[in-house]
Each structure stands twice: as C-alpha cells, then as structure tokens.
Symmetry: D2
Subunit: 341 residues, 4 copies
C-alpha cells in the first residue's frame, strides 16, 4: 500500500517520533511505501510532498517538531477542497492517509472518511483536551517544562517575598496548569473550567505572607475571573490612561499589586512549552501511537484513531476525539485545592 502521512495544527513534541514509528514498522512489516505531505492539509491539497522512507526518519525520535511541517489549512474552507484532495491522492497513487493532529485536523479526517476516503488518525494536543484517549503525547513534555520553570521560580519568590504568577498553555482546559501546578507545589492553580475569585486568591497570598512565605500561582492562559472577560478588560489602564492588552497572568499581577501592595510578577511560558525533545514518556506514547496507526491502516480500520486506555493502545472512532472537549473534572480539581493558600 502507498500511505500518505501529514501533521496538522500546532507543533508538539513527539510528532517526529510518530512518523518514525509508522515508517519503521510499515516498510519491513507490511511492505508499505510512504509519502510525506508538507504542512498538513495544505500539502495534500497542493500535492506538495517529500520522501518518507527509512533513511528519512533516522534520528527523528528525540527531535521535537515535525519534519513534515504543519499548517492550519482547512480543505473544507474552499468549495473544491475534497475534490482537490481526491485528485491529489490519485495523482500520487496514495491509497490511504494517516492524519496526525488535533481537533481541527481530525475533524477534517472524519469528514473525509465520511466522503469515502481511507483515513486513520493519530490524536495530538499539547493541552490534553481531546476526548477518547487518557493522554496525548506532548502533554507530558509541556507539563515537565512548566514544572521545571515553577521549580526555578520558587527561589526567586522566596528571596524577594513576591507573588510570582506562571501563565501556562491551556485555552479551554486546565490540564497543564493542574498537573504542573500540583507537581511544582503551586500555592494556587487557576483553570478555565472554573472562574476564580480574586478575593480568594488574595486571601491565600496574604495568609502565606503572614507566615513569611511567598506565593506561586499557576494560571492557564484561558482562566477567567468571576465576572468574565469584561472584568479582565476593565481597569487595565497604562500610565497614559490607555487600555493594556495582555494575558490573564498580567491582569492578575496588577490586581494583586494594587489590592495588596505586594510585589507580583508574571512569567508567560509561551512557546517553550511545545518545543524541543519529548520526555521519555512522550516518546514511548508517540512511538506506540505510530506503531498502532500503521497496524490500523493494515487492518483497514478506516475512520478510527489510536488512543491510550490505561496501559493499552486501542483504536476508537475519530469522532470520539472531536465530539466534546475533555476538560478537568471538578472532583479532580478539588483534590488540588488542599494545597492552595
């Protein structure tokens, strides 16, 4: 079989490890040939390919990012997208597709499968908010990097009697904040799933200062104060009276400083969370996803994707990933609250 592979959406540690595993198993075990599409669905639409044989995946296991490149191109955004994809696959004699990506990429994959194309998916998200799988690769790496940053910030907070706020990834789900906050010994964790009360945060901070302890607060980029986005914008004036734009972390620091008189600083971790070499665990998960994805192709399990369940890799319908966002359960968040303040 001739199999096309693509990676879509934001980059993520482990993508290259998936590619390597697919090729390292598919060639000798099943005699497959592989074609790499450049930059996600854009490469499929434009038949823009690069070789993807065993020598091409040598050394890829520890490398972050994706050698195929990525994009957010959506073939359903144009009328003839599906048609162009069919033509492209025909021209390149590609029999099946493995689409590695998040909600958008897998959503496209599911619709193409409905159109009769032979597609298998591999779920990918730093944020861990895809359904159908216990975890996705890249998440453990992001949590590790964020935890290491929190470890580093503790000593600065203590030396300067400050509140340090760490803004981590997670627009819609607080998984990175929750895991890294727990692992890093944060004194408060604020996530998108539950609006936070600035008063309560101030209470924690003050009670700690009374014992001479500084505070570390971990906040998801998508966390929201009570009152919502409106509150987040209000009162954010710079020295010239202009509204300041910035994340929730900056906003919270400003609130703490103005209402408690304590020094507060924010660090926005940003892109470093999604780059670089994957952790051992993410390499393991990504490699196993790759191996099982090519097994699924061989078995003709079209319209499915690989998923982790406990210690097993299984295949589930592509729709499981995209039907609903996997958010942090209130009970799990409550476990962490014992450490707040």
């Amino acid at each position: 079989m001739r199999v096309g592979v693509l990676t879509g959406g934001g980059d993520c540690p482990g993508l290259n490890a998936v590619l390597r595993a697919i090729v390292r198993k598919g060639v000798p075990a099943f005699g497959h040939e592989f074609v790499g599409f450049r930059d996600g669905w854009r490469g499929v639409l434009e038949a823009d390919v690069r070789p993807l044989d065993i020598p091409d995946v040598r050394g890829l296991l520890p490398r972050g990012g994706t050698v195929l490149g990525s994009s957010r191109t959506n073939p359903f955004a144009t009328d003839d997208g599906v048609q162009r994809i069919r033509r492209s696959l025909d021209d390149l004699r590609v029999d099946a597709l493995i689409a590695i990506g998040g909600e958008d990429t897998l959503g496209v994959a599911a619709r193409l499968h409905d159109e009769g194309l032979r597609v298998v998916g591999v779920p990918k998200t730093i944020d861990n908010d895809l359904g159908g799988t216990d975890y996705t690769f890249g998440f453990d790496t992001a949590v590790s990097i964020a935890t290491e940053a929190i470890d580093r910030l503790h000593t600065t907070a203590e030396s300067h009697h400050r509140v340090l706020i760490v803004e981590v990834m997670g627009r819609h789900a607080g998984w990175i904040a929750l895991h890294a906050g727990m692992a890093g010994g944060a004194n408060a964790i604020l996530i998108p799933e539950q609006r936070f009360s600035v008063e309560r945060v101030l209470g924690w901070v003050e009670s700690r200062f009374r014992d001479r302890y500084a505070s570390i607060i971990v906040v998801s980029e998508g966390a929201m104060p009570e009152g919502g986005a409106e509150v987040l914008q209000s009162g954010r004036k710079d020295a010239f009276g202009h509204a300041r734009l910035g994340g929730v972390g900056d906003w919270l620091a400003q609130q703490i400083e103005s209402r408690s008189g304590r020094e507060a600083r924010t660090t926005v971790l940003g892109h470093v969370q999604r780059g670089g070499t994957p952790t051992a665990r993410d390499r393991w998960l990504a490699t196993r996803f790759g191996l099982h994805a090519i097994d699924a192709v061989q078995a003709g399990e079209w319209g499915t994707m690989t998923a982790l369940r406990g210690t097993d890799i299984v295949t589930v319908p592509l729709l499981e990933a995209t039907k609903a966002l996997k958010t942090v359960d209130p009970a799990l968040y409550a476990e962490a609250e014992v450490f707040f303040g």
Copy 2:
C-alpha cells in the same frame, strides 16, 4: 486519629511527595495527627519516631529519597515481631498505619492487617513490577534518567563505531529497559522475561555496522542469555585465569568483542536511576497516592492500597500488589522488536 507513616525498601523518587500529601491533607481535612517511623518496619519495632507535621513536610515535594529513612527490616523475621509492633503502636497511641513500600513492605502490611491492625498501603517500586496498579511512582523518573543516558551514549557509539551496552535496573521485570530502550532508540532491548540469543544480538550489530551504524543495546540487570546463569559464568576469566564477577552487561560486551572483533563497552547506570528529584509525572502520581491513602484511612478501608487505573486513583486489596510479579507481556515486547537491528 493518630496515624503512623513509614517508608520501606529501596528509596524511590516520590516517597517524600507521598508523605507531604498525606500530611497536607490529613491535618486540615480530617484533623489527623501524624507520627513518622524511622527506617521502615525497624522504626515501628523499636518505636523510633520523628515528628511529621505540616512544617516537617515543607519543601519535600521535589526532593528525592525519604526523610523518614528506609530499611529492609522484616518484623516477621523474629518471633515476637507482631507483638512488639502492637506494643509500639499502643505506647505511641497510633491508631492506624500507612505503609509505603514494595513487595516486602506491603506483604508485611497485608499480614499485619490479617492480624487485625489497621493498615493502608501505598505501592512503591522503581521497577514497576507490582500488580494492581498501572504504574508506580519512581518508574517514570528512572526511565527518564536511563533515556537521557542513552541519548548521551548515541553520539559516543557513533563517533567510535562501537557497541555500547547500557545496563539498567530490573531484576525480575524488564519495564525500565523496555521503556527507556524504546524512548532512547535502542537497537536491541534485552529483558528478564525472555532469554536472549547472543547470536541474534551479534546479527543485529553486524548488520548495522555494514551500514556504518553503531549500536546501542539496553539490557535489564536481570536479563539472561539462552542457557541461563551457567552460561553467564562460563568463560569469564580475567588475565590471571580467575573467574570475573560482574553483570550481564559486562558479560555481553565481552561476548561481542570476542566473537565479532568490534569494540563494546558497558555502562551500568546503577543508583543514579533511583535518586534525585522526581519527574513532574511522578510527583503528580505520588501526590495523588498520598491524598487517596489518607482518604482510605479516613474511610477505614483497611487492608487496601492506592492504585492507578487509567487516569483514576482507586483502592485495591493489598494482596493485588503482592500475589504475582507484573512482568512485560510478550506482545508488548514484540512491539519493540521492529526497532531491533
């Protein structure tokens, strides 16, 4: 309630995180008092204790090892062990015990529970070979350290056209070797569950050298060649004709050198695998084990231990941990074989 806590067996990253979580939840949520027994069951036998209140667990989350100390003392090795433990708990007014440890420690805990003591367990093993739980804390850290070592050895192997052998922990189960070998891109992984053929290993090594590639072989300390322990001892003569003692890694290097003429070197990772700060994931798991252990005490779930199932922490009978060693499934090992040679 007054709760005694002990850590037994080999040290393991995450033990301190468990202690911290138990105390940080038990004191405010349930009003428990805590007593730390020094050096595992020895401390219980000898009523040797240290304070274990909230200030005592401050800063423990990222610290490896156990502030309680550990030992391999088995109270059932002496006739009056159980009697002394009862007396000790009475004297110290300890109502319940949390025993954090591996096969031996939890085995003792189970027998004490049979004797009517109120005991809850927390499973601990670097080797990941305890039943009843998907993973144990400390394992991810060990795998990370071993993987990082393998990453480093790749460049030396390539620069010198050598075979480099990495001997990792795992006397009875190959989990560390399998995970670190997969994550590190090993060219062969040898585990205790399956005797290995030196000829087959030589074949892989030679086929790689034909393509100008060096080889990395990851081997569990408990791996065994076909023929068993006898073969491992034979022909191991030093320059003076004396038998050499040493691990399977050294033996394999000697075999490869003498039979292929290629340079082979062994690195025995040893204790560095079990020390130091836990990974973010192990801190998460250890913390949750601690939180659920004190919940189990509060709920009176005596004779149980905490366990990871998928993403949930549950309690299972202590016997699940000790009834059988959790070894690597042949099908899982077979997944890795596609990367050998």
Copy 3:
C-alpha cells in the same frame, strides 16, 4: 571575629552557595561567628538578623535564591543611614561585613568602607556586566536556561516556518544574549551595545526563508533599534488605537510581521533565567568566591571584593566593580556575526 553577611539586589543562582562556603570555612578555620542580615541593607539598618551557623547552611549548595532574603534598600537614601548601620553593628557586636551584591550593593559597601567600616564584597550579577572579574556566578545558569529555551524553540520555528524571537535579560549589556545566542545557534543576536537595523534583520530572515529555513532571533531586553526609544514607541497601536507597551521583542515581532508578512512570535524568558539550582560551574565559582571572601576578612583586606581572573580567584578594590559597566566588546560581537542570516 563576628561577621555579618548580607545579600542585596536581584536574586541569583549561587547566592546560597556563597553563604555556605563562607560559614563552612569561617567557623572551623578561623573561629568566626556569623550573623545573617535579612533582605540586604534593610536588615543592617533595622538590625533584623537570622542565625547563620553551620546547621543553617546545610543543603544550601544546590538551592537557588538566598535564604537571607534580598531587597534594593539603599542606606544612603536616608540622612542617618550610616549612623544607623554603625549603631546596628555595635549593638550586634558585628566586627566586619561581607556584602554580596551587584553595582548598588557594592557601591554602598565601598562608601561604607570609605566611612571606616570593615567591609569585604562579593560581586553578583546575572547580567555579567560588573567590572573587575572575568565572570560572576549566576551568569552561566542564566545562559544555560536561555540556551535550553532556544534549543526548544528551533523545532517550533522550523515546523511552522516562523520567526521566533527570544527576549533575554540584559538591560545594559548583551552578555546573556551573546552567549546564549551563540550556544543556541541563533540566526541573529541583538544587544544593547549596538543599535540594530530592522532592515538588516529582515534581510537575514528573508534570505533564510528562501532556503526554506526558519529563524531564531535572540534579543536583549535592552536592545534598541536605530532611531532609539522613539522608534520603539511609534506605530505601536492596538486595535483601539492605543499605544501598546511591551518589550523590544514584541516590537520586533510586530515589525517583522507587518513588513515581511511572515509569522513572528516572541517569548520573553523573564524570571526563570534567574531562579533555581545553579549550574555546576556557578556552584564552583560561588563556592570559591565564598571561600576567598572569608579569607579576605581574615586577612583584613577591607574595601576589596573577590574576582575571577582566568582560573584564579583574586581580590580587587571594590571600586573596580562599580567604576564602569562591563559591556560586550565590538570585536567579540563581530565574531558572532558570521552566524547571522
């Protein structure tokens, strides 16, 4: 002798290692007693002290920050500052002071020495911009952290065909940017010592994209475009027409996006650069500075500070640190330029 010790200014990995070395040598070798002043000169002014004996420095070597706390209090900002310091030292029977800090802290130390106080200094700056010494501790740690971040960003830049900008510390000197940029393989390095041309940066970026390569640009927080601060403010309007505040990194990303149409993103590393455990090299340097500082006290070399010269630790007049900022030599910067574009 009874010796007071203080740490002033921003925290820095290695401060605790200096404290430990001073005490670990001073007590047994010279029979000194030590007093730790809290929060820099504030603690001296207010006679706010904490114990600083051998048990108090146990375990400090690998810990970032300073257990003494720090502040930016300047005793010369008040009229009676010197008088209060004299009274404080008298009351506490302190015979000599070791002041560990940067330009401000050492400047105060020099003036107090002029007033007749017995003071020895230890230079400290993340930014490496103090004179009189080849390097200061903390700098190597900051460079390591920044380099690791750059390593991680490379894969994201490549996967998304983007320009990624990393803003690092360095208000007046480009040492961190230069070292981390060289070590991280940056495609451009912009430092405060030399105004940069946006056109030239755009030229490098475009020439790399022509070969399908993304770009990483490392920029000191104090770097300045040609035209200076005015240019930096101009045209920085948000959606509402308000001026945006933000660093040079954000400004540059905006310029690149608007003038080249390429995606550009900025990561501001911030406080993580100055926190956490010191590198081995910084622990070595900090420890040796501590050992030599107490030797200088014993030898009565008042008004001096420790300094690194090649592989030797020497003492130099305090004024050497503060008389002029140590900036990046144009010839050294020119060495790096071969890698730009």
Copy 4:
C-alpha cells in the same frame, strides 16, 4: 585554500561545534574549501574523506560526538606514516590541516609541523589536563553530568544511611572529581595527584554518621591509596578466593564496608560523562575555538593551537599542550578540603 579537518582520540561534547564554526566562517569569510578526514589520522593515512561544506555542518552545534568519527591511529607508529600523509594531502590537494584532539593527536600534529606540514591544532580533552589553555571544551559538560549524578545520589545516601562512592573520569588529573565534587557537595574528593589515606576517609565517614549524616565520596578513576597499586590489588578476593578486578571506587567501597561495617556502594559514571549535547558554555568555547582556528589557518600561524586565557582566545605553540600534563594544584585541592568530613 583547501583545508583538511580531523578529530582524534576520545569523543567529546563540542567537537561538532568546532567543525561547524570552522566551516561556517572559513567558507564565506576566506573562501576556503574543506575536506573532512574520517576517524582521525587513519583517514589522513588512507585518504578516507567525507564532504564538509556548509550543508554538512547544519544542525551540528548541539550534537555531541563527531560526525567525522575518531580513532587512536598514530601515523608515527609505521615507518612510512609521514610519507603516506604527504601523498594523501597531495592527492586530495589539501593545503593545510586542522587537527582537533588531545595529547596524542596534537603531539602528532606538532611532529608533522616539524616535518614542514601546515598544521593548526584545537585542544580537546574531557579531563582538562592539557597545558596552555585555561579550559578545554567538553570538560564543563562532563562536570555538569557528574554533578547531576551526585545531586541524585545524595537522597539515596541519606535515605539508606549509606556511603555512596561516585567514580568519575580522570586517569592522571583530578579536575572532573574536584569540580564535580565541589559543585555536588561531596564529603570527600580523591584525586590522582595526591594519594589518599583510607583511615582518613573512614574518619570522615564515621564522624558524619555520628551526626546521622550519610556520605558521598567522589573519586577519580586514577586516584590511588597510600601504598599504591599494590595495595589496590591486595585483599581483593571474591567469594571463591579469586582476585577481583575493578576500579578504585569498588575497592574503596569494599574497604569501607569491611572496616566500618557501614553499607557502601559505588557508581561508575563511565561513558555518559563524555556523550550527548554540550553545555552552553562548552558550545561557546568550542565555537570560539573553531572560529579562531580558521583565523589561524588564514594567518598562517602553523604549529599553533587555540587556547583560552581568561575570556580571550589566543594561539599558542602546539608544544604547550603536550609538554606537561596540567594537574590539580595542591593549593586548589586544599581549598576543597574544608568541606571534607
């Protein structure tokens, strides 16, 4: 000019960074062409080359080892070695050589220079024992790795009340042991430059146990007890009465166990110290050595090598590196002794 480059001796983090810098500067700045000789002097003798142009050095900066390969081949071991080298260089039209290596490699380079060949050297040694330069690249990486291992072992030593011995590289000089031992907070450091007394070591260990503290001892592989090699061999019988071979670390553990009754364990760090990605500092040093080496070629400074002096890179006669081993000065070792016991 057409310049041949080779890397000889043991591999070392930073070799690839030197290669990259040479080519990245030599091609655009001077119009040089480059030829890479495979496996040190063997490649020169056999005219075994690989391309070494700008695309060939892409991505090499963070990679450990050497893409040229290495060997310990000595062209002066055969009668016609020099003749074969001349012929090889003539055939390949190579005008000048850059030899990157340690004592042996640079010794050959010096003799070839005496024979009239145009050679420039770059010093390389993990052990830091080459003269003429403050430091060599690779050393900082080795020290970092050893320090990280020591950090990890502390918690195990404490949890189990053990003596843990860490055997690090350094056959003739104790630089790695001294730096890593100081940075890791070792309780004793034993180096080849000064024979150690087992009684003194036992004294330190016992005095620490009296205060309930475990011990970490860092020992160079070349350290030697009083009495010398003979003592090291005596009394090393295994269970069968056979002499045991093994390093000084194993021997010392045995001595401590048998004479104090305390548990002692040894970890031999081995090859992990020399592999993998270089530290930021080593990348900086290696890159600058590469830049200055090609400058020296351009300037015709034959028979010299690059060297670090303070913060400057200079060129010195090749003989400076090889005329005498750079060992640890007794005064420097004495600085560390304050931390012993």
